[in-house]
Protein backbone atom coordinates (compact mmCIF):
# COMPACT_ATOMS: atom_id res chain seq x y z
CA UNK A 1 0.00 0.00 0.00
CA UNK A 2 1.10 3.56 -0.50
CA UNK A 3 1.07 6.06 2.33
CA UNK A 4 -2.55 7.07 1.95
CA UNK A 5 -5.08 6.56 4.71
CA UNK A 6 -8.00 7.59 2.52
CA UNK A 7 -8.31 7.46 -1.23
CA UNK A 8 -11.53 8.46 -2.94
CA UNK A 9 -11.81 8.15 -6.70
CA UNK A 10 -14.63 9.58 -8.82
CA UNK A 11 -16.93 9.38 -5.84
CA UNK A 12 -20.56 10.14 -6.70
CA UNK A 13 -23.77 9.91 -4.71
CA UNK A 14 -27.16 10.57 -6.17
CA UNK A 15 -30.46 10.55 -4.31
CA UNK A 16 -32.90 10.14 -7.16
CA UNK A 17 -32.24 13.05 -9.48
CA UNK A 18 -30.40 15.05 -6.82
CA UNK A 19 -26.62 14.70 -6.99
CA UNK A 20 -25.25 15.24 -3.49
CA UNK A 21 -21.66 14.38 -4.32
CA UNK A 22 -20.51 14.81 -7.88
CA UNK A 23 -17.48 12.84 -9.06
CA UNK A 24 -14.92 13.91 -6.46
CA UNK A 25 -11.44 12.47 -5.99
CA UNK A 26 -9.02 13.17 -3.17
CA UNK A 27 -6.57 11.43 -0.93
CA UNK A 28 -5.40 11.87 2.64
CA UNK A 29 -1.91 10.80 3.71
CA UNK A 30 -1.36 8.68 6.80
CA UNK A 31 -1.08 10.90 9.84
CA UNK A 32 -2.50 13.89 8.03
CA UNK A 33 -4.90 16.38 9.59
CA UNK A 34 -7.33 16.97 6.75
CA UNK A 35 -10.02 19.63 6.65
CA UNK A 36 -13.14 19.09 4.59
CA UNK A 37 -15.23 22.25 4.51
CA UNK A 38 -18.16 23.62 2.57
CA UNK A 39 -21.48 25.41 2.99
CA UNK A 40 -24.57 23.67 4.37
CA UNK A 41 -25.82 20.96 2.06
CA UNK A 42 -22.57 20.90 0.04
CA UNK A 43 -22.15 17.14 0.46
CA UNK A 44 -19.75 16.91 3.41
CA UNK A 45 -21.73 14.50 5.54
CA UNK A 46 -22.74 12.43 2.52
CA UNK A 47 -19.06 12.06 1.65
CA UNK A 48 -18.09 11.11 5.21
CA UNK A 49 -20.89 8.57 5.32
CA UNK A 50 -19.56 6.97 2.15
CA UNK A 51 -16.01 6.91 3.53
CA UNK A 52 -17.28 5.37 6.77
CA UNK A 53 -19.31 2.62 4.98
CA UNK A 54 -22.68 3.98 6.09
CA UNK A 55 -23.73 4.88 2.59
CA UNK A 56 -22.99 3.12 -0.68
CA UNK A 57 -21.62 5.37 -3.42
CA UNK A 58 -23.62 5.54 -6.64
CA UNK A 59 -20.31 5.51 -8.49
CA UNK A 60 -16.62 5.54 -7.73
CA UNK A 61 -14.36 3.83 -5.22
CA UNK A 62 -13.11 4.47 -1.71
CA UNK A 63 -10.12 2.94 0.04
CA UNK A 64 -9.72 3.48 3.76
CA UNK A 65 -6.61 2.14 5.49
CA UNK A 66 -5.99 -0.03 2.45
CA UNK A 67 -9.44 -1.62 2.59
CA UNK A 68 -12.20 -1.21 0.06
CA UNK A 69 -15.08 0.67 1.72
CA UNK A 70 -17.59 -1.10 -0.50
CA UNK A 71 -16.30 -4.67 -0.48
CA UNK A 72 -14.48 -4.88 2.86
CA UNK A 73 -16.84 -2.92 5.05
CA UNK A 74 -16.15 -4.74 8.31
CA UNK A 75 -12.40 -4.20 7.96
CA UNK A 76 -12.91 -0.52 7.27
CA UNK A 77 -15.31 -0.27 10.20
CA UNK A 78 -12.82 -1.84 12.61
CA UNK A 79 -10.12 0.60 11.62
CA UNK A 80 -11.98 3.89 11.84
CA UNK A 81 -13.42 6.04 14.61
CA UNK A 82 -16.41 8.22 14.03
CA UNK A 83 -17.62 11.28 15.86
CA UNK A 84 -20.99 12.12 14.41
CA UNK A 85 -22.50 15.51 13.80
CA UNK A 86 -25.50 14.56 15.95
CA UNK A 87 -25.27 12.90 19.35
CA UNK A 88 -25.10 9.12 19.32
CA UNK A 89 -24.68 8.12 22.96
CA UNK A 90 -27.06 5.94 24.92
CA UNK A 91 -28.17 8.62 27.37
CA UNK A 92 -29.86 6.16 29.70
CA UNK A 93 -26.59 4.42 30.50
CA UNK A 94 -23.55 5.70 32.37
CA UNK A 95 -20.48 7.11 30.65
CA UNK A 96 -18.52 4.02 31.57
CA UNK A 97 -21.23 1.68 30.22
CA UNK A 98 -21.26 3.58 26.93
CA UNK A 99 -17.53 3.08 26.65
CA UNK A 100 -17.78 -0.55 27.69
CA UNK A 101 -20.39 -1.27 25.00
CA UNK A 102 -18.19 0.40 22.42
CA UNK A 103 -15.18 -1.67 23.48
CA UNK A 104 -17.29 -4.82 23.11
CA UNK A 105 -18.58 -3.74 19.69
CA UNK A 106 -14.96 -3.39 18.54
CA UNK A 107 -13.62 -6.49 20.38
CA UNK A 108 -11.25 -4.52 22.57
CA UNK A 109 -9.87 -6.84 25.27
CA UNK A 110 -11.15 -6.01 28.73
CA UNK A 111 -7.90 -5.04 30.47
CA UNK A 112 -6.83 -3.02 27.44
CA UNK A 113 -10.20 -1.27 27.43
CA UNK A 114 -9.98 -0.33 31.11
CA UNK A 115 -6.50 1.12 30.75
CA UNK A 116 -7.37 3.03 27.59
CA UNK A 117 -10.70 4.32 28.89
CA UNK A 118 -9.13 5.60 32.10
CA UNK A 119 -6.38 7.36 30.15
CA UNK A 120 -8.77 8.99 27.71
CA UNK A 121 -11.32 10.01 30.34
CA UNK A 122 -8.48 11.63 32.21
CA UNK A 123 -7.40 13.45 29.06
CA UNK A 124 -10.85 15.06 28.70
CA UNK A 125 -11.42 15.57 32.44
CA UNK A 126 -14.36 13.22 32.74
CA UNK A 127 -12.90 10.74 35.21
CA UNK A 128 -15.06 11.97 38.07
CA UNK A 129 -18.25 11.58 36.06
CA UNK A 130 -17.68 8.15 34.61
CA UNK A 131 -20.38 6.51 36.74
CA UNK A 132 -22.99 9.20 35.96
CA UNK A 133 -25.91 8.61 33.63
CA UNK A 134 -25.17 10.43 30.36
CA UNK A 135 -28.59 12.13 30.46
CA UNK A 136 -27.21 14.37 33.21
CA UNK A 137 -24.27 15.57 31.06
CA UNK A 138 -24.01 19.00 29.43
CA UNK A 139 -23.60 19.24 25.66
CA UNK A 140 -19.87 19.77 26.01
CA UNK A 141 -19.45 16.78 28.31
CA UNK A 142 -21.38 14.55 25.91
CA UNK A 143 -19.11 15.65 23.09
CA UNK A 144 -16.02 14.91 25.14
CA UNK A 145 -17.38 11.49 25.96
CA UNK A 146 -18.08 10.84 22.29
CA UNK A 147 -14.51 11.77 21.46
CA UNK A 148 -13.23 9.35 24.08
CA UNK A 149 -15.50 6.68 22.68
CA UNK A 150 -14.39 7.32 19.11
CA UNK A 151 -10.74 6.91 20.11
CA UNK A 152 -11.21 3.92 22.39
CA UNK A 153 -10.39 1.19 19.88
CA UNK A 154 -7.23 2.87 18.54
CA UNK A 155 -8.70 3.83 15.16
CA UNK A 156 -6.20 4.62 12.44
CA UNK A 157 -8.53 7.19 10.91
CA UNK A 158 -10.77 9.45 12.94
CA UNK A 159 -13.73 11.17 11.30
CA UNK A 160 -14.85 14.32 13.05
CA UNK A 161 -18.10 15.53 11.54
CA UNK A 162 -18.59 19.02 12.95
CA UNK A 163 -17.29 17.96 16.37
CA UNK A 164 -17.74 21.36 17.99
CA UNK A 165 -21.14 22.31 16.58
CA UNK A 166 -23.40 23.99 19.12
CA UNK A 167 -20.70 24.35 21.77
CA UNK A 168 -19.61 27.58 23.42
CA UNK A 169 -16.16 29.01 22.54
CA UNK A 170 -14.65 27.85 25.83
CA UNK A 171 -15.73 24.27 25.28
CA UNK A 172 -14.62 24.40 21.64
CA UNK A 173 -11.16 25.55 22.69
CA UNK A 174 -11.04 22.83 25.34
CA UNK A 175 -11.98 20.12 22.88
CA UNK A 176 -9.33 21.24 20.45
CA UNK A 177 -6.77 21.25 23.23
CA UNK A 178 -7.68 17.62 23.97
CA UNK A 179 -7.50 16.66 20.31
CA UNK A 180 -4.13 18.37 19.92
CA UNK A 181 -2.76 16.57 22.97
CA UNK A 182 -4.03 13.36 21.57
CA UNK A 183 -2.50 13.96 18.14
CA UNK A 184 0.84 14.71 19.73
CA UNK A 185 0.72 11.35 21.51
CA UNK A 186 -0.64 9.05 18.86
CA UNK A 187 -0.31 8.59 15.17
CA UNK A 188 -3.80 9.06 13.82
CA UNK A 189 -5.21 10.46 10.60
CA UNK A 190 -8.00 12.96 11.15
CA UNK A 191 -10.64 14.07 8.70
CA UNK A 192 -12.50 17.09 10.00
CA UNK A 193 -15.58 18.85 8.74
CA UNK A 194 -16.50 22.10 10.40
CA UNK A 195 -18.17 25.46 9.99
CA UNK A 196 -15.74 27.14 12.37
CA UNK A 197 -13.07 27.92 9.81
CA UNK A 198 -10.40 29.01 12.30
CA UNK A 199 -10.35 25.37 13.40
CA UNK A 200 -8.91 24.47 10.02
CA UNK A 201 -5.92 26.81 10.28
CA UNK A 202 -3.82 23.96 11.64
CA UNK A 203 -4.85 21.45 8.99
CA UNK A 204 -2.19 19.97 6.73
CA UNK A 205 -4.53 20.16 3.77
CA UNK A 206 -8.02 21.46 3.16
CA UNK A 207 -10.56 20.63 0.51
CA UNK A 208 -13.43 23.04 -0.07
CA UNK A 209 -16.55 21.36 -1.39
CA UNK A 210 -19.44 23.23 -2.96
CA UNK A 211 -22.54 21.78 -4.58
CA UNK A 212 -21.04 18.31 -4.54
CA UNK A 213 -17.73 19.26 -6.13
CA UNK A 214 -14.30 20.01 -4.71
CA UNK A 215 -13.58 23.56 -5.83
CA UNK A 216 -10.30 24.17 -4.02
CA UNK A 217 -7.60 22.08 -2.40
CA UNK A 218 -4.31 22.86 -0.69
CA UNK A 219 -2.59 23.85 2.53
CA UNK A 220 -4.15 26.75 4.43
CA UNK A 221 -1.21 28.85 3.21
CA UNK A 222 -1.77 27.86 -0.44
CA UNK A 223 -5.46 28.65 -0.24
CA UNK A 224 -4.88 32.02 1.36
CA UNK A 225 -2.41 32.89 -1.40
CA UNK A 226 -4.70 31.64 -4.12
CA UNK A 227 -7.66 33.68 -2.91
CA UNK A 228 -5.51 36.59 -1.67
CA UNK A 229 -7.03 36.46 1.83
CA UNK A 230 -5.50 36.37 5.27
CA UNK A 231 -7.86 34.01 7.09
CA UNK A 232 -9.57 30.73 6.29
CA UNK A 233 -12.90 32.40 6.99
CA UNK A 234 -12.24 34.91 4.21
CA UNK A 235 -10.95 32.19 1.89
CA UNK A 236 -14.13 30.21 2.44
CA UNK A 237 -16.38 33.18 1.65
CA UNK A 238 -14.34 34.02 -1.41
CA UNK A 239 -14.41 30.45 -2.72
CA UNK A 240 -18.05 29.60 -2.07
CA UNK A 241 -19.72 33.00 -2.47
CA UNK A 242 -21.51 35.22 -0.01
CA UNK A 243 -25.06 34.01 -0.56
CA UNK A 244 -26.82 32.15 2.23
CA UNK A 245 -27.37 28.46 1.64
CA UNK A 246 -30.80 27.16 2.29
CA UNK A 247 -30.09 23.81 3.85
CA UNK A 248 -33.76 23.40 4.69
CA UNK A 249 -34.52 23.19 1.01
CA UNK A 250 -31.88 20.72 0.05
CA UNK A 251 -32.55 18.47 3.04
CA UNK A 252 -36.22 18.52 2.25
CA UNK A 253 -35.52 17.82 -1.37
CA UNK A 254 -33.26 15.01 -0.33
CA UNK A 255 -35.82 13.40 1.95
CA UNK A 256 -38.48 13.71 -0.70
CA UNK A 257 -36.18 11.83 -3.01
CA UNK A 258 -35.41 9.33 -0.23
CA UNK A 259 -39.08 8.60 0.15
CA UNK A 260 -39.44 8.02 -3.54
CA UNK A 261 -36.43 5.77 -3.93
CA UNK A 262 -36.73 4.21 -0.49
CA UNK A 263 -33.05 4.98 -0.05
CA UNK A 264 -32.62 6.31 3.50
CA UNK A 265 -29.36 7.67 4.76
CA UNK A 266 -28.53 4.54 6.68
CA UNK A 267 -29.11 2.03 3.97
CA UNK A 268 -26.32 -0.57 4.25
Amino acid sequence: MNGNAIEAKNLTKRFGSFTAVNNISFSVRKGEFFGFVGPNGAGKTTTINMLATLLLPTKGSVMVNGFDAILERDKVRSSIGMIFQDPSLDVELTAWENLWLHAKLYSVANDLFKKRAKELLNLVDLTERKESIVKTFSGGMKRRLEIVRGLLHHPKVLFLDEPTIGLDPQTRALIWRYLKNFRAKEDVTILLTTHYLPETENCDNIAIINEGKIIAYGTPMDLKKKYKQDSMDAVFMEATGHGIRDEELSVEAQSRVNLKTGGGLWRR
Binding site: L54, S78, L101, H102, L105, W266
Partner: protein
Protein backbone atom coordinates in the same frame (compact mmCIF):
# COMPACT_ATOMS: atom_id res chain seq x y z
CA UNK B 1 -16.14 -15.80 21.23
CA UNK B 2 -17.43 -16.10 17.72
CA UNK B 3 -17.88 -12.67 16.15
CA UNK B 4 -21.54 -13.14 15.32
CA UNK B 5 -22.47 -14.43 18.78
CA UNK B 6 -20.51 -11.63 20.41
CA UNK B 7 -22.59 -9.12 18.45
CA UNK B 8 -25.83 -10.81 19.50
CA UNK B 9 -24.65 -10.88 23.11
CA UNK B 10 -23.73 -7.18 23.28
CA UNK B 11 -26.99 -5.97 21.81
CA UNK B 12 -28.96 -8.32 24.08
CA UNK B 13 -26.95 -7.23 27.11
CA UNK B 14 -27.57 -3.56 26.39
CA UNK B 15 -31.33 -4.15 26.33
CA UNK B 16 -31.12 -5.85 29.72
CA UNK B 17 -29.01 -3.03 31.09
CA UNK B 18 -31.54 -0.44 29.93
CA UNK B 19 -34.39 -2.54 31.30
CA UNK B 20 -32.67 -2.65 34.68
CA UNK B 21 -32.17 1.13 34.59
CA UNK B 22 -35.88 1.59 33.96
CA UNK B 23 -37.19 -0.48 36.82
CA UNK B 24 -39.91 2.12 37.38
CA UNK B 25 -41.32 1.21 33.99
CA UNK B 26 -41.91 -2.31 35.26
CA UNK B 27 -43.86 -0.94 38.21
CA UNK B 28 -45.94 1.58 36.26
CA UNK B 29 -46.50 -0.91 33.44
CA UNK B 30 -48.00 -3.33 35.94
CA UNK B 31 -51.10 -1.15 36.15
CA UNK B 32 -52.06 -2.46 32.71
CA UNK B 33 -52.71 -6.11 33.66
CA UNK B 34 -54.19 -4.99 36.98
CA UNK B 35 -56.80 -2.88 35.23
CA UNK B 36 -57.35 -5.47 32.56
CA UNK B 37 -57.76 -8.49 34.81
CA UNK B 38 -59.21 -7.11 38.00
CA UNK B 39 -61.54 -4.49 36.54
CA UNK B 40 -62.37 -5.65 33.03
CA UNK B 41 -62.17 -9.36 33.85
CA UNK B 42 -64.26 -9.21 37.00
CA UNK B 43 -66.69 -6.78 35.38
CA UNK B 44 -67.42 -9.11 32.46
CA UNK B 45 -67.53 -12.12 34.80
CA UNK B 46 -70.33 -10.48 36.77
CA UNK B 47 -72.81 -10.52 33.91
CA UNK B 48 -71.62 -13.06 31.37
CA UNK B 49 -71.14 -16.80 31.61
CA UNK B 50 -68.71 -18.74 29.46
CA UNK B 51 -70.08 -21.64 27.38
CA UNK B 52 -67.75 -23.69 29.55
CA UNK B 53 -69.09 -24.33 33.01
CA UNK B 54 -66.78 -24.40 36.04
CA UNK B 55 -64.73 -21.52 34.68
CA UNK B 56 -65.32 -17.82 35.25
CA UNK B 57 -64.50 -15.34 32.51
CA UNK B 58 -61.85 -13.65 34.62
CA UNK B 59 -60.09 -17.01 35.00
CA UNK B 60 -60.37 -17.64 31.28
CA UNK B 61 -58.84 -14.21 30.72
CA UNK B 62 -55.84 -14.90 32.96
CA UNK B 63 -53.58 -16.67 30.41
CA UNK B 64 -54.90 -14.27 27.77
CA UNK B 65 -53.89 -11.30 29.90
CA UNK B 66 -50.39 -12.74 30.24
CA UNK B 67 -50.27 -13.14 26.46
CA UNK B 68 -51.58 -9.67 25.82
CA UNK B 69 -49.11 -8.04 28.20
CA UNK B 70 -46.34 -10.09 26.61
CA UNK B 71 -47.34 -9.01 23.11
CA UNK B 72 -47.45 -5.33 24.06
CA UNK B 73 -44.15 -5.49 25.95
CA UNK B 74 -42.42 -7.23 23.05
CA UNK B 75 -43.71 -4.68 20.58
CA UNK B 76 -42.78 -1.87 22.90
CA UNK B 77 -39.19 -3.04 23.11
CA UNK B 78 -38.96 -3.29 19.33
CA UNK B 79 -39.91 0.37 19.17
CA UNK B 80 -36.65 1.10 21.00
CA UNK B 81 -35.01 0.64 17.59
CA UNK B 82 -36.89 3.74 16.47
CA UNK B 83 -35.70 5.56 19.59
CA UNK B 84 -32.14 4.48 18.85
CA UNK B 85 -32.53 5.86 15.37
CA UNK B 86 -34.02 9.12 16.62
CA UNK B 87 -31.48 9.65 19.38
CA UNK B 88 -28.52 8.49 17.35
CA UNK B 89 -27.29 5.37 19.12
CA UNK B 90 -28.21 3.24 16.11
CA UNK B 91 -25.47 5.01 14.13
CA UNK B 92 -22.90 3.99 16.71
CA UNK B 93 -23.97 0.37 16.25
CA UNK B 94 -24.28 0.52 12.45
CA UNK B 95 -20.79 1.98 11.96
CA UNK B 96 -19.24 -0.71 14.17
CA UNK B 97 -17.92 -3.97 12.73
CA UNK B 98 -20.91 -5.97 14.03
CA UNK B 99 -22.88 -8.10 11.62
CA UNK B 100 -26.27 -6.56 10.83
CA UNK B 101 -28.13 -9.82 11.36
CA UNK B 102 -26.44 -10.18 14.74
CA UNK B 103 -27.81 -6.75 15.69
CA UNK B 104 -31.32 -7.83 14.70
CA UNK B 105 -31.13 -11.15 16.55
CA UNK B 106 -29.64 -9.48 19.63
CA UNK B 107 -32.49 -7.01 19.56
CA UNK B 108 -35.10 -9.80 19.22
CA UNK B 109 -33.60 -11.80 22.09
CA UNK B 110 -33.27 -8.68 24.23
CA UNK B 111 -36.90 -7.75 23.62
CA UNK B 112 -38.11 -11.30 24.28
CA UNK B 113 -36.10 -11.59 27.50
CA UNK B 114 -37.24 -8.31 28.99
CA UNK B 115 -40.85 -8.82 27.87
CA UNK B 116 -40.93 -12.28 29.47
CA UNK B 117 -39.44 -11.05 32.74
CA UNK B 118 -41.83 -8.11 32.87
CA UNK B 119 -44.88 -10.20 31.99
CA UNK B 120 -44.14 -12.78 34.66
CA UNK B 121 -45.39 -10.18 37.13
CA UNK B 122 -48.96 -10.91 35.96
CA UNK B 123 -48.73 -14.29 37.71
CA UNK B 124 -48.96 -12.51 41.07
CA UNK B 125 -52.56 -11.62 40.18
CA UNK B 126 -53.53 -15.29 39.69
CA UNK B 127 -54.45 -16.16 43.30
CA UNK B 128 -56.57 -12.97 43.57
CA UNK B 129 -58.90 -14.20 40.82
CA UNK B 130 -58.92 -17.82 41.87
CA UNK B 131 -56.13 -19.20 39.69
CA UNK B 132 -53.73 -20.88 42.08
CA UNK B 133 -50.12 -21.06 40.99
CA UNK B 134 -47.85 -24.03 41.27
CA UNK B 135 -44.21 -24.63 40.55
CA UNK B 136 -44.73 -26.80 37.48
CA UNK B 137 -47.04 -24.23 35.88
CA UNK B 138 -44.52 -21.42 36.28
CA UNK B 139 -41.63 -23.54 35.02
CA UNK B 140 -43.59 -24.51 31.90
CA UNK B 141 -44.91 -21.00 31.34
CA UNK B 142 -41.49 -19.36 31.12
CA UNK B 143 -40.34 -21.07 27.88
CA UNK B 144 -43.87 -20.77 26.41
CA UNK B 145 -43.90 -17.05 27.15
CA UNK B 146 -40.42 -16.63 25.76
CA UNK B 147 -41.45 -18.33 22.54
CA UNK B 148 -44.49 -16.09 22.12
CA UNK B 149 -42.48 -12.94 22.74
CA UNK B 150 -39.79 -14.10 20.28
CA UNK B 151 -42.47 -14.07 17.56
CA UNK B 152 -43.67 -10.62 18.51
CA UNK B 153 -40.19 -9.16 18.91
CA UNK B 154 -39.29 -10.51 15.47
CA UNK B 155 -42.35 -8.90 13.92
CA UNK B 156 -41.48 -5.69 15.74
CA UNK B 157 -37.86 -5.67 14.57
CA UNK B 158 -38.80 -6.53 11.00
CA UNK B 159 -41.28 -3.65 10.90
CA UNK B 160 -39.28 -1.01 12.78
CA UNK B 161 -36.10 -1.62 10.79
CA UNK B 162 -37.98 -0.22 7.81
CA UNK B 163 -39.35 2.79 9.63
CA UNK B 164 -37.64 6.12 9.78
CA UNK B 165 -39.42 8.05 12.50
CA UNK B 166 -40.43 7.51 16.08
CA UNK B 167 -43.97 8.70 15.38
CA UNK B 168 -44.52 5.69 13.18
CA UNK B 169 -44.24 3.56 16.31
CA UNK B 170 -47.84 4.15 17.34
CA UNK B 171 -49.07 2.53 14.14
CA UNK B 172 -47.40 -0.68 15.19
CA UNK B 173 -49.82 -0.90 18.10
CA UNK B 174 -52.78 0.20 16.09
CA UNK B 175 -52.30 -2.01 13.07
CA UNK B 176 -50.28 -4.96 14.36
CA UNK B 177 -50.39 -5.48 18.11
CA UNK B 178 -54.10 -4.82 18.62
CA UNK B 179 -55.42 -6.99 15.77
CA UNK B 180 -53.03 -9.78 16.74
CA UNK B 181 -54.30 -9.75 20.32
CA UNK B 182 -57.97 -9.47 19.37
CA UNK B 183 -57.76 -12.34 16.91
CA UNK B 184 -55.78 -14.66 19.15
CA UNK B 185 -58.38 -15.94 21.57
CA UNK B 186 -56.69 -14.02 24.36
CA UNK B 187 -59.79 -11.89 25.05
CA UNK B 188 -62.72 -14.14 24.13
CA UNK B 189 -63.09 -17.88 23.62
CA UNK B 190 -63.00 -19.03 20.01
CA UNK B 191 -66.52 -20.44 20.26
CA UNK B 192 -69.47 -19.91 17.90
CA UNK B 193 -67.69 -17.20 15.98
CA UNK B 194 -69.01 -15.91 12.65
CA UNK B 195 -67.18 -17.69 9.85
CA UNK B 196 -65.00 -14.74 8.77
CA UNK B 197 -63.86 -14.15 12.34
CA UNK B 198 -63.29 -17.86 12.84
CA UNK B 199 -61.03 -17.97 9.78
CA UNK B 200 -59.07 -14.90 10.85
CA UNK B 201 -58.38 -16.34 14.30
CA UNK B 202 -57.20 -19.63 12.83
CA UNK B 203 -54.75 -18.12 10.37
CA UNK B 204 -53.32 -16.00 13.16
CA UNK B 205 -50.33 -18.03 14.39
CA UNK B 206 -50.46 -16.20 17.70
CA UNK B 207 -53.74 -18.03 18.42
CA UNK B 208 -51.75 -21.24 18.87
CA UNK B 209 -49.12 -19.54 21.03
CA UNK B 210 -51.86 -18.16 23.29
CA UNK B 211 -53.46 -21.59 23.46
CA UNK B 212 -50.16 -23.10 24.62
CA UNK B 213 -50.16 -20.67 27.55
CA UNK B 214 -53.79 -21.44 28.30
CA UNK B 215 -53.29 -25.20 28.31
CA UNK B 216 -50.34 -24.89 30.67
CA UNK B 217 -52.35 -22.77 33.09
CA UNK B 218 -55.55 -24.84 32.98
CA UNK B 219 -53.92 -28.24 33.06
CA UNK B 220 -52.36 -27.22 36.33
CA UNK B 221 -55.71 -26.01 37.60
CA UNK B 222 -56.96 -29.61 37.34
CA UNK B 223 -59.78 -28.63 35.01
CA UNK B 224 -61.28 -31.66 33.22
CA UNK B 225 -59.52 -32.41 29.93
CA UNK B 226 -62.62 -31.89 27.71
CA UNK B 227 -63.09 -28.44 29.20
CA UNK B 228 -59.53 -27.40 28.34
CA UNK B 229 -59.79 -28.92 24.88
CA UNK B 230 -63.05 -27.10 24.21
CA UNK B 231 -61.23 -23.77 24.58
CA UNK B 232 -58.51 -24.68 22.08
CA UNK B 233 -58.72 -23.89 18.38
CA UNK B 234 -60.10 -26.73 16.33
CA UNK B 235 -60.28 -27.57 12.65
CA UNK B 236 -63.26 -29.63 11.41
CA UNK B 237 -64.26 -30.30 14.99
CA UNK B 238 -60.82 -31.75 15.80
CA UNK B 239 -58.92 -29.95 18.53
CA UNK B 240 -55.40 -29.15 17.40
CA UNK B 241 -52.92 -31.19 19.40
CA UNK B 242 -50.48 -29.49 21.77
CA UNK B 243 -47.46 -30.85 19.89
CA UNK B 244 -48.72 -29.41 16.61
CA UNK B 245 -49.22 -26.04 18.22
CA UNK B 246 -45.61 -26.05 19.34
CA UNK B 247 -44.50 -26.94 15.82
CA UNK B 248 -46.65 -24.19 14.28
CA UNK B 249 -45.39 -21.55 16.69
CA UNK B 250 -41.71 -22.49 16.57
CA UNK B 251 -41.79 -22.75 12.78
CA UNK B 252 -43.38 -19.34 12.54
CA UNK B 253 -40.79 -17.97 15.01
CA UNK B 254 -37.88 -19.21 12.91
CA UNK B 255 -39.33 -17.73 9.73
CA UNK B 256 -39.84 -14.38 11.42
CA UNK B 257 -36.36 -14.28 12.96
CA UNK B 258 -35.01 -14.92 9.49
CA UNK B 259 -37.15 -12.17 7.95
CA UNK B 260 -36.27 -9.70 10.70
CA UNK B 261 -32.53 -10.24 10.33
CA UNK B 262 -32.85 -9.85 6.59
CA UNK B 263 -34.84 -6.66 6.96
CA UNK B 264 -32.21 -5.29 9.28
CA UNK B 265 -29.47 -5.82 6.74
CA UNK B 266 -30.96 -2.85 4.90
CA UNK B 267 -31.68 -0.83 8.02
Amino acid sequence: MNNFLRGVYIIWYRDLLRFWRNKTRVVTGFSFPVIWLLIFGNGISASLNLPVSSLKYVQFLFPGAIAQYLIFNSMFSAISILQDREFGFLKEVLVSPINRSAIAIGKILGGATTATVQSLTVLILGPIIGVSLNFKMVVLLIPAMFMLSLVLSSIGVAVTSRMKSLDAGQYIFQFIAFPIVMLSGAIFPLHNLPLWLDILTKINPITYAVDILRRIVFENLNLPEPVIASLSPSINGETIRFGYEIIIVSGFTLVLIFLASRAFRNA
